[in-house]
């Protein structure tokens, strides 16, 4: 309550937020960036570690060129320029999850630079500049919550390829950041270079936030880490903006720091100061040759790019007469844009199908990423839809029916299903308590209608 009031107050005194984003996306290849160990998520600890990954004396890095191809495709999709000659460098620091004591990354001359992405907000469009995309190794994982006295190191992730996508500080609100990241996820998934699974850590975002008065000089920025979902990113940014505004209004100074987001308390807290600057002693990696890409290779990769979300959205609007909102939602996730187009192959009514997907499927699925329905089942098989409606159960059935009715006049399966369900609560209860066959009774009733 207090916070909400603050939002009103700050916006009315002309504060601007200046936000930049750093996205670390794990590259979706079967092996890691410089070693031939498998790149996989769920495995027993320390089972996917080659000699190179644990920095065994005598081991040397060997570049996985597929990582380079996927990174270049991603960069082209984000309108970047490809540096035909880029270099790998060593970034030195000591930490248990970094076995070699240095990370192989790109610093002075990265693979891709100067890209941009235009995001569509409700009332306006904005172009966000992308400073660079570079290739680097991921570190291992340190787990401190298994044993109170020991830190456990799992090197399965050590050496996995990462694309680090860094933007200029062109973003001005948490909403813009959310839309931007969703767009980037759409592109990464379409190109096939990343799973973008934030829960599993295949996509991680850090944000740099600072505030300034409109027309005033730039503020000091703070980096926020540990943001595991778009929702948390949005909340963390909002908290941080408030925090910084409050500090400045009390005539104090915002110090440059790295902060951690605590989801349970919805706050950011101090982790380390940026003033104790670490000297990473960068120099060019002598075990690797400079990365050289020819014009032919770039063109070949460009030609192999699939239809990007931006174009797909425009096509959906043009070809299927969808509105902006519908097109945006469908295009956000590759899976659903394909699902949509496959449904169209079965039942030719684009606006209807879009409607069903957005208003029924999305609302009922507990987790959008786990949709077990096939397009065929969705379009024709009442059984599955009923099951879904009952299991989904996120809203009272009357509300769904209400909403649905107001969207279209067309009499269809789902409407009847819902009616049936509301008319036969006993049978629904029986189904819920495990009597699966009762669904046939309900199906029969729906079909009759």
């Amino acid at each position: 309550m207090y916070r909400n009031l603050n939002i009103f107050r700050s916006y009315s005194t002309s504060w601007e937020s200046v936000i930049g984003v750093e996205i670390h996306a794990q590259i979706k290849t079967t092996t890691k960036l410089f070693s031939n160990a498998p790149n996989s998520f769920a495995s027993l600890p320390n089972t996917l570690v080659s000699l190179m990954d644990c920095s065994y004396p005598g081991s040397l890095p060997s570049l996985n060129t597929r990582c380079v191809s996927l990174a270049i495709k991603t960069g082209i999709a984000l309108n970047c320029k490809v540096n035909k000659k880029s270099y790998f460098e060593r970034k030195h620091y000591f930490f248990p999850d970094l076995p070699s004591g240095y990370q192989i990354t790109q610093q002075s001359i990265p693979l891709l630079i100067n890209g941009h992405l235009t995001i569509t907000m409700p009332d306006y469009e904005k172009t966000i500049r992308i400073q660079q995309i570079k290739l680097e190794q991921d570190s291992g994982k340190t787990l401190s919550d298994i044993d109170r006295d020991l830190s456990m190191i799992d090197l399965n992730r050590a050496g996995t390829g990462l694309m680090e996508i860094v933007t200029e500080p062109d973003l001005s609100s948490s909403n813009e950041v959310a839309i931007f990241i969703k767009n980037v996820i759409g592109i990464l998934q379409t190109v096939g270079s990343c799973d973008c699974n934030m829960d599993q850590g295949s996509l991680r975002c850090d944000v740099n936030v600072s505030v300034k008065r409109k027309g005033g000089k730039d503020g000091t920025r703070c980096e926020i880490k540990n943001l595991n979902s778009i929702k948390f990113i949005t909340k963390a940014i909002e908290f941080e903006v408030q925090r910084q505004i409050k500090i400045i209004e009390e005539n104090e100074i915002v110090t440059q720091e790295t902060r951690f987001y605590d989801a349970s308390k919805d706050i950011t807290y101090f982790l380390r100061s940026k003033e104790n600057f670490v000297d990473y002693k960068y120099f060019f990696e002598p075990d690797l040759l400079p990365l050289e890409i020819s014009e032919n290779e770039i063109n070949s990769l460009k030609n192999r790019l699939p239809e990007l979300p931006q174009l797909k959205r425009e096509r959906f609007i043009l070809q299927y007469k969808l509105n902006n909102f519908e097109a945006n939602l469908l295009v956000e996730d590759n899976f659903y844009s394909n699902f949509f187009e496959q449904c169209l192959g079965l039942k030719r009514c684009p606006t209807k199908i879009a409607n069903w997907i957005i208003n029924i499927l999305f609302r009922l699925l507990p987790n959008r990423r786990e949709c077990t329905l096939t397009p065929f089942q969705f379009c024709f098989q009442v059984k599955f839809v009923i099951k879904l409606i009952i299991e989904g159960n996120k809203e009272p059935i009357e509300d769904i029916v209400e909403n649905f009715n107001s969207q279209s006049n067309y009499q269809n399966l789902n409407f009847f299903c819902e009616e049936v369900i509301s008319n036969y609560p006993e049978q629904v209860a029986k189904f819920k308590s495990g009597n699966i066959n009762i669904i046939n009774f309900l199906v029969g009733k729906a079909v009759k209608k």
């Binding site: 644990c54 920095s55 065994y56 004396p57 005598g58 081991s59 040397l60 890095p61 060997s62 570049l63 060593r90 030195h92 000591f94 930490f95 248990p96 076995p99 070699s100 004591g101 240095y102 190191i153 000297d279 002693k281 120099f283 002598p286 075990d287 690797l288 040759l289």
Partner: protein, 313 residues
Amino acid sequence: MLSRFGLIAFASSLDTPGIFTRSVTDTTLVYDSMVGRDFNDSTSIDANENCSNSFDHLELFKSKYKKGSGLKGVKIGIPIEFNVEELSNTMRELWQYGIDLLEQEGAEIVSVSLPHTKYSLATYYIIAPAEASSNLNRYDGIKYGHKVQTKKVLTLNEFYQQSRSEGFGTEVQRRILMGNFCLSRDSFDNYYGKAQKMRMLIKQDYQRIFDSGISFILTPTTPTPPFLISKQSSNPTEEYLNDVYTVPISLAGLPAISLPIKRSFENFEGQSGLPLSLQLISRWRQENNLLNVAWCLEQNANMQQLKLEEIEF
């Protein structure tokens, strides 16, 4: 040419496996078995016909060899900048001896200039410790190697500091500290950055010589005869001076072979009979020819086998 995979890395851009044998013919055998591209080492390259099958090439050379004119048409360069004050008389005489041997076999001796030689020691002792300090970061006591044993509870940094201080010897620690300094942000441009540029100039010196028709360069391997363990200097910088003839070759990335030519007669620090060596250097990817000429030098020098009983250490 030779893969570094499996070598404990010291200074990656300078490291190479070294072949130690008792004769040049043996060297060709070992070299042949190692040469070529290794996919485990991204910086290794394929060998062409001038740097592979060296044993067969040497056999062919031996069969066609005519004493007195075997090296006809071969130009050997003698770099004037290598004739420094620190070069002992014994070694200077050895150098002359080697020159005479080759001239007798028909080679043409040419005086050449490598103007950046005087910077090579400093360049090496910036680049090598810098890269070594990086490669040695992995020895932290966490996954393998020496780990500090103590009942006291240490912070992570204390753990690293103590494990590494105990595990590394004095010379290694010295080089790590030097390397860290050269790579630090404030010093990078003046030290490592400049050293890499100087390295390029040194490499170009040699390229110019080889481009002008010289096939090989002959120099002493060390400025003095081998020093006895008991008489070792306690000043590390003096020790580093012993590398003055081998270091520029390493920086330029050229193939070279060092072979003992004769035993010392003069009393060097009260000793005689010590093995004295000369170094032959060729252009990149000319290992076959290098080994041929080395064999020729070995034949004509006819070095006496060393008997360890004769030496007092």
